[in-house]
Subunit: 339 residues, 2 copies
Amino acid sequence: MKSLKDIAKALDLSVATVSKALKDYKDVSTATKLRVRAYAKEVNFKPNLHAAYLRSQKTKLIGLILPDLNHYFFNSILASIVEEAEQNEYRVLVFCSKESYENEKQQVLDLVQQNVDGIFLSISKSTYQYDHLEEAKKQKIPLILFDRIAKAINSFRVVIDDKKAAFDATSHLIQQGCKKIAHFRGDLIPQMSIDRFFGYKEALKFHGLEFDENLVYICHDNEVFDGSKHAETLLQKHPDVDGLFAITDLVAIGAMNHFIKKGCRIPQDIAVIGFSNWQIASLVTPALSSVEQNGYQIGKKVMSLFLKTQIKGNQELPFTTEVIPSKLIVRASSRRTKI
Amino acid sequence: MKSLKDIAKALDLSVATVSKALKDYKDVSTATKLRVRAYAKEVNFKPNLHAAYLRSQKTKLIGLILPDLNHYFFNSILASIVEEAEQNEYRVLVFCSKESYENEKQQVLDLVQQNVDGIFLSISKSTYQYDHLEEAKKQKIPLILFDRIAKAINSFRVVIDDKKAAFDATSHLIQQGCKKIAHFRGDLIPQMSIDRFFGYKEALKFHGLEFDENLVYICHDNEVFDGSKHAETLLQKHPDVDGLFAITDLVAIGAMNHFIKKGCRIPQDIAVIGFSNWQIASLVTPALSSVEQNGYQIGKKVMSLFLKTQIKGNQELPFTTEVIPSKLIVRASSRRTKI
DNA sequence: AAACAGAACGAAAATGTTTTCGGTTTGTTT
DNA sequence: AAACAAACCGAAAACATTTTCGTTCTGTTT
């Protein structure tokens, strides 16, 4: 654990000169620069970040807050951010709000207090106010929201176009010949849940099908049992349903399991499509059609946006909203042989 | 971004007194303690970790290095460590070695240089030497290895008993009536791969079945296609195989897919069991039997071990190896009706 | 009244780095 | 030879905190 002082002593130089030699200041002779660098390499010197921060106010730390860490989509975002950060010599502090506003608030305030260079956040389901985000903005810490954004907060945003993706998914079912399409939607609050619902409605309208609110069911956890539970009710009340657009792959799988148990053929009797294209989608039987949400690309975009805020110095960057394209992945659960 | 100085100025006290009031020193009057704490709470003061470290040499940071971030098991460990850390006022720096020794080495050395209070590591598949770990030990940074440990390195360890778990899984197949059980094993290097292989062999021996190395196939990535690829060869060469113990759930699923395609009935013709009990195991058809590896418990144990090293002060704690029990989860892929 | 004890607080050093500013040396120009 | 510029280096302050060691009071004991 060598310090600049140690190097200075060993080479009979001042701490200042050593520091400047390593940072390639021009008021240090080439000779001493070489001498210093050689020695620094020899003892594997790396500057102490904590001390450096104190002086430069740059922590080289990024705070990442995710709502859930047992979640394929968020994990892929995490993976890409960690990877990108490392390549740019940033380090990532990871937090999990566990879908709780209180946790999220504490974590944001904590990160602000720790002077991280940037905060990357996907807001929790239960976040209904944004004072903590205002605080981060007040402290001039770049705030980048992704996927679960807050429309009321002006910040950098990286999202997918949930409405369009839902529109495409529903349209696909219609093109496969579905006439009576149910939707298992998400909870009322999160924006993506609303957007996907609207995309579903618009697709029906666009293709001249009537919207029937009795075909819409609300999932509270977006888990497998939500799907199977609603599938049961749906089949009882509307045995002639022939298509389902579910808010997540897990919900879709839960529903498929119930349909199959009841003897429905997928996709001939009911065509099903999910959302997110988890790894699992390609492994269930029948393979589940889904909308790909590319977490890897989202993470990359978040990071590149952040890096832009860093190089520009004080010159404030205008907020932007980046839309990552999503893609329909058609598999057996919705691919009907020619109608 | 309040500092001690700000509080001191506001309350007309010295920085020293404020610091001591917050840390409950006994040479501060109760009155001022209350005054300071009330104000600190009001402005949401939290000490700057970087500055605090400089003086106390405690960073309150934990470095966590995982081989893979798109992996259900490691993600559950990550989730529990992040959660436990937060409860104990530690923060987690997350790195991903991507199964590369070079990455892992750089990351460990980096963490050492950053003076993290502890390093939690599951070593990469390609790690064949341990000089970086020795370095961490030399710097007296507690090193806790989990799941993928290095037998050559003396350190704290948290593992599951892979050999016993594999023994149990194989025994279960035998009890279900399997006579000719194949094993799709992992790569040659990682310890867990070896341990599971040995568990398989011992179970055969214990139950009086002959070990046949022609029934063992090596997977290099432990992914779905490993399973389907080997399943194809296996069926061609040994059409009378009636059981398979696969090193991971994904490998097992890949194999099942191929078996089903070829018209084999599972579990009647071939009983299959995987390893790790990913979420996916319960959702495929037929549902996959597996060995539960409780990542959540592993993470908790890692953290509690670490906390012990922190409270004891300088008094060196003896290295221990904690074994987390694993559990057999029997599902349709191996549950045969009475033989 | 002198001496002392104890309570409450502050000054200051230390941690490792960055960066400004000033100083010394060397060489170049009038 | 005087003046000046350029090249090179170091002193020191600053960042926020912790902790040791004094200092100043009050009140109590001889």
